[in-house]
Symmetry: C2
Subunit: 138 residues, 2 copies
């Protein structure tokens, strides 16, 4: 567990610090998207707010986590699959938000739909966000 987390940091050429280990472990343990507030709570308020902001930003920059647009205007972060690398995210998957428990899932096995845009528009990236009830809450 800790080994895997250390590997991720090494692979991204980041120094190994308590803070980074702890936050990465939270993502690995929970296997769902977390907000800044989630992390602050789950880490037992052991780290400074600013440090968490900066760590999350670093992880996004390095392609370790990605952000998820949400309807209620709160940024969620989730682990990237190995396909992601620095400055080049491949988080082309559907995100599912459960209306009951509030959990955000990355649906990696669902293929992204093709969106036809009008003449003159060109598509760079597509985000699909689905609301509903997850398998644990029905």
């Amino acid at each position: 567990m800790k080994e895997a987390v250390i590997d991720i940091l090494k692979h991204s050429q980041l120094s190994i610090t308590d803070n980074r280990l702890k936050i990465l472990e939270l993502f690995q343990k929970n296997q769902k998207a977390l907000s800044h507030a989630d992390i602050e709570r789950l880490s037992g308020k052991h780290f400074d707010r600013v440090t968490i902001y900066r760590t999350l930003q670093t992880f996004v920059d390095k392609g370790i986590i990605h952000t998820i647009p949400t309807a209620d205007n709160s940024i969620m972060y989730a682990l990237c699959k190995e396909a992601c690398s620095e400055g080049h995210h491949h988080d082309d998957h559907v995100h599912f938000l459960c209306d009951t428990c509030g959990t955000t899932y990355c649906l990696d096995n669902v293929n992204m739909p093709e969106v036809n845009v009008p003449k003159g528009f060109s598509v760079h990236q597509t985000n699909v966000l689905v609301n509903g009830i997850c398998k644990n809450c029905r």
Copy 2:
């Protein structure tokens, strides 16, 4: 112009006030999604911040405008089509964000893709957000 805006307010059983007229006119005039900050700027700082927040909330509640989830965590608002009514939004259309000019469009004529979710999940609503270059910026 002003007539149309007044009709919208009457239809939603809202009283006609300067603030509401002005904000609705901004949406009609611009025909694109606006943020709270956009409205504050475009209205010439004539209205209180709090009033704008409350007005936008009222409009969302009444089905006059809808919110758009964005990747950078800023809420955008856009006019609903007539199909929307109080407490029941039909903003089932694709949203397009231009990476160059930052304009958010509602692509009403693009049909929403069907998303296949895993067994046990049920879909309530789907949001599709596309990034790219719009027809004015290419």
